[in-house]
C-alpha cells in the first residue's frame, strides 16, 4: 500500500530490532560523541539484543554497562549531554523507567530552558514498551502519555523497521531530549526493507500509511499493526480508511490530523495505553476544536481499559484488536 517504505537500491530486509541496531551502529560510526549506556547492553547486547555487537565494535568506553539503577542511567545521561556528548540510554523495560522520571522531567526536559540556552540536553532514552509478548508483570506497560505531557521532551514511537531506523537516527541527531519508545511486540514480527544509509526521518510529522476517504484511523506504535489490519478488513467491505501513524506524540503534528479528518469527517483513535488522560484525548480535543464542522460522527477511541496492564493471561482482552477497531469504525459510519 502507500506505506512509506523506501525501496531503494540499498534496501535490505530487517526486523524492527535489527533496524534499531543498525541505526545505533550508523550513528556511532558517524559521530564519536554518541555513546550508549544501560543495563546489560555491553557483552550481552541488551536483553532484546538491540545493542548486539556494539561493544565489540566500539569498545566499552562508548558502550557502557551501568550499575543497576535507572535513575542513575538518566542522571548520567543528563550530565553527559550537558557537556556535548550524545548519550543513548537504554531502559530495559518501560515499566522500570519511573525511577528515572525525576531526572527526565525536572532536568533533561528543562536544562535548555532554565539556562536560557547556555546548556542543552541532547539525549535519547530508549525503552521497549507495550504488551503482547507474555512478559512478566511490570514488563508490558504503555505509559507514553506521562512523557508526552512533559514540555521540552520529544516522544517518538516507531511502528515499522524503516521508521524505527529513520526516527532513531533523527532522535540521536536531535538537539532536544527524546524519549524513544520501541514496540517490543513488533521487534521480531517481520522483516521489511530498510535503507540502511537512508536519511533520518522528520520528528515533527505524522506518517500517512494508507489513504482513504471514508474515515481516518489514527494510531501509533504497536497498535498500528492492528489498525492496518482493521483497514484491510474494512477495505474488503468497500470502506476506505485513511491510516495515520502519529509516530511523534510531542510535539504533535496537529495539521496532518486535522486535514485528514476535515476531509473524511470521521475519526477513530487507537492506542494501547489506558483511555483516561491518554493521548487520544488530546487528539480528540484538537479535532473537536479545529475540525468540528467537518465531523459527521463523534470521535471514537479504541484503547486499553482504565486499569493496570493485566498480567499476561488477560492481556489479549486488554489490547485493542482488529474487531474492536472495525466495530468503532462502523459506529462512526452509521452515526
Amino acid at each position: 500500500m502507500a506505506e512509506l517504505q523506501t525501496h531503494g537500491a540499498h534496501a535490505v530486509p530487517m526486523n524492527l530490532l535489527e533496524a534499531v541496531n543498525r541505526a545505533l551502529v550508523r550513528a556511532m560510526a558517524e559521530d564519536d560523541s554518541v555513546v550508549l549506556l544501560g543495563e546489560d547492553i555491553g557483552t550481552n547486547g541488551g536483553v532484546f539484543r538491540a545493542t548486539e555487537g556494539l561493544k565489540a565494535q566500539f569498545g566499552f568506553r562508548r558502550v557502557m554497562d551501568t550499575p543497576l539503577a535507572e535513575n542513575l542511567i538518566a542522571g548520567l545521561a543528563v550530565g553527559m549531554a550537558s557537556q556535548g556528548l550524545k548519550p543513548v540510554a537504554e531502559i530495559q523495560f518501560m515499566g522500570f523507567i519511573y525511577a528515572a522520571l525525576e531526572q527526565i522531567l525536572s532536568h533533561a526536559a528543562r536544562l535548555r530552558n532554565r539556562t536560557r540556552g547556555r546548556l542543552s540536553c541532547p539525549l535519547v532514552i530508549r525503552a521497549p514498551y507495550g504488551g503482547g509478548i507474555h512478559a512478566p508483570e511490570h514488563h508490558s506497560e504503555s505509559t507514553e502519555a506521562l512523557f508526552a505531557h512533559i514540555p521540552g521532551l520529544r516522544v517518538v514511537m516507531p511502528s515499522s523497521p524503516s521508521r524505527a531506523h529513520g526516527l532513531l537516527l533523527a532522535a540521536i541527531q536531535c538537539p532536544d531530549p527524546v524519549i524513544f519508545l520501541e514496540p517490543k511486540r513488533l521487534y521480531r514480527l517481520k522483516r521489511l526493507p530498510v535503507v540502511a544509509d537512508g536519511e533520518p526521518l522528520p520528528l515533527d510529522t505524522c506518517f500517512t500509511l494508507r489513504t482513504g476517504d471514508d474515515l481516518t484511523l489514527i494510531s501509533w506504535g504497536a497498535a498500528i499493526h492492528e489498525t492496518l489490519g482493521a483497514a484491510d478488513q474494512l477495505a474488503a467491505e468497500g470502506i476506505n480508511a485513511e491510516v495515520i501513524d502519529v509516530a511523534c506524540l510531542n510535539p504533535l503534528d496537529r495539521d496532518t490530523l486535522v486535514a485528514s479528518v476535515s476531509r473524511t469527517g470521521r475519526a477513530v483513535i487507537v492506542h494501547e495505553a489506558p483511555r483516561h488522560g491518554g493521548m487520544g484525548a488530546e487528539i480528540a480535543a484538537t479535532l473537536a476544536n479545529q475540525a468540528l464542522l467537518h465531523l459527521r460522527a463523534p470521535v471514537e477511541r479504541v484503547t486499553g481499559y482504565d486499569c493496570p496492564m493485566p498480567y499476561f493471561q488477560l492481556e489479549q482482552h486488554y489490547l485493542p484488536n482488529v474487531e474492536r477497531i472495525v466495530a468503532a469504525a462502523k459506529r462512526t459510519l452509521v452515526y
Binding site: 555513546v35 568506553r61 562508548r62 557502557m64 551501568t66 550499575p67 539503577a69 535513575n71 542513575l72 538518566a74 542522571g75 548520567l76 545521561a77 543528563v78 550530565g79 553527559m80 549531554a81 550537558s82 557537556q83 556535548g84 556528548l85 548519550p87 525511577a99 525525576e102 531526572q103 525536572s106 532536568h107 536544562l111 535548555r112 530552558n113 532554565r114 539556562t115 536560557r116 540556552g117 547556555r118 546548556l119 542543552s120 514540555p151 521540552g152 520529544r154 536531535c174 538537539p175 532536544d176 515533527d204 510531542n250 510535539p251 504533535l252 503534528d253 496537529r254 495539521d255
Partner: protein, 337 residues
C-alpha cells in the same frame, strides 16, 4: 615575605567577607519584597570559597543551592545571582567567558545533581581531559538514592569526581542525627569503595588542603573522593523558614563562636596578613560592590513573556507556534494597555 598560600588565604578571606555581606543584603532584599525565596549561605562561606579557590578553569562545578561563593569565584556576577533568586532564569545563563561557562545551574531538587555530576565526570574521562568535577550537596541529600547511586558508579568507573557535603547539621528542620545511623557522613564512602574524608567546614585552610588533594587525585585519574565538611547553618533554611521553631538558641549561640569568617580573620591577623585598617577598607569595598550589584539587578529589563517558550527546544516546534503567538499578543496588549 608572603607565600602563594598566604595570598590565597587573603583572597579567600576577602571572598568570604564579600559573600557574608552579599548574603545579608540578599535576605534584606527578600524581606522588602525585592527578591524571591532565597537560600542563605551564612556559615557556609569557607566551604563555598574553598571550593571556588580549589577549582580550575578546566574543572566543572555542579552546585546545589547554597553555593553563591563558589559561583562568584567562578565568575558569575553577583547581580546575576540575585537575578536567579529574583525569579529570572536568565540568572542561570552564566557568562560565556567565565569559569562557570559549562557548570550546571543551581540545583533545587535534592541530590539529583550528583548523578549528573557522575555523567559529566564520565564525559571528561572519555575525552581524556585533565579535569575534575566538584559536586556539592547538603547533609539531607546523603539520604537520597542519587547520592549513593552517584558514589557507587563513580567508584566502579573510577571517575574524576569529588562530592563535597556541606554538613550544616540541618535538612530544613530535621537534624543530622535523624538522617542516618552512620557515625559520620564520610562513612558512606565505604559502601562505594572510595575514600571518605571529614574536614572542619569552618576552617578555610583545612578545606583547601582536603579539596586540593581530592581534586588533584581526581585529575590524575585516581578516582573519586567523598568529603564531609562539618559546619553549622547559621541562617534559616531559606527566607521562607523560621528555624526558631526547631533550633535551640543556645545551640545557635555556640555555633556562632566557631563561625568561619571571624575565625579566618583572627588567624590572618595573628600571622600579620590582615589588620584593622585593611578590614575597614575591605568592608567599604564589600558595601560598594554589593550596592552596585543590587542596583544592576533592580534595573535589569524584564524578560519577554515569550522567553518561557523560546528556550524550550533548540527551535520552536510548529506545534507551539499558536501558543507563542497568543502569548506574544497578550504581552503586547499588556505593554500597550
Amino acid at each position: 615575605m608572603r607565600t602563594d598560600h598566604d595570598h590565597r588565604r587573603v583572597a579567600g578571606y576577602k571572598t568570604m567577607a564579600m559573600i557574608r555581606h552579599f548574603d545579608k543584603k540578599a535576605v534584606n532584599l527578600q524581606r522588602t519584597g525585592r527578591l524571591g525565596t532565597y537560600a542563605s549561605c551564612l556559615g557556609a562561606e569557607a566551604i563555598g570559597t574553598a571550593a571556588g579557590l580549589a577549582l580550575t578553569r578546566d574543572d566543572y562545578f555542579v552546585p546545589y543551592y547554597r553555593d553563591h561563593a563558589t559561583l562568584y569565584l567562578r565568575g558569575v556576577p553577583l547581580h546575576q545571582i540575585l537575578q536567579y533568586w529574583g525569579g529570572d532564569e536568565r540568572g542561570n545563563a552564566f557568562p560565556a567567558d567565565s569559569d562557570a561557562r559549562r557548570d550546571l545551574p543551581y540545583c533545587v531538587p535534592i541530590a539529583t545533581q550528583l548523578t549528573q555530576a557522575a555523567g559529566i565526570a564520565s564525559a571528561a574521562k572519555l575525552r581524556h581531559k585533565h579535569a575534575a568535577v566538584l559536586a556539592t550537596c547538603g547533609d539531607g541529600a546523603t539520604s537520597r538514592g542519587d547520592f549513593y547511586e552517584a558514589l557507587n558508579v563513580a567508584g566502579v568507573w573510577q571517575l574524576p569526581l569529588v562530592v563535597l557535603i556541606n554538613n550544616n547539621q540541618w535538612a530544613i528542620s530535621v537534624p543530622r542525627g535523624l538522617q542516618t545511623a552512620c557515625a559520620s557522613l564520610a562513612d558512606k564512602a565505604v559502601a562505594a569503595g572510595i575514600p571518605g574524608v571529614q574536614v572542619d567546614g569552618n576552617d578555610l585552610d583545612a578545606l583547601l588542603k582536603v579539596l586540593d588533594d581530592a581534586l588533584e587525585r581526581a585529575r590524575a585519574g585516581k578516582g573519586t573522593t567523598l568529603v564531609e565538611a562539618i559546619s553549622y547553618r547559621l541562617s534559616d533554611h531559606t527566607t521562607a523558614d523560621d528555624a526558631s521553631r526547631y533550633r535551640k538558641a543556645s545551640d545557635l549561640h555556640r555555633a556562632w563562636q566557631n563561625e568561619p569568617v571571624r575565625r579566618l580573620r583572627d588567624t590572618l591577623a595573628e600571622s600579620g596578613l590582615w589588620d584593622a585598617q585593611r578590614e575597614t577598607d575591605w568592608q567599604q569595598q564589600c558595601e560598594r560592590t554589593v550596592e552596585e550589584a543590587i542596583d544592576t539587578y533592580l534595573n535589569l529589563p524584564p524578560a519577554p513573556a515569550t522567553d518561557m517558550l523560546d528556550y524550550l527546544y533548540a527551535a520552536l516546534p510548529a506545534a507551539l507556534r499558536d501558543q507563542r503567538a497568543a502569548l506574544a499578543a497578550l504581552n503586547q496588549e499588556v505593554r500597550h494597555g
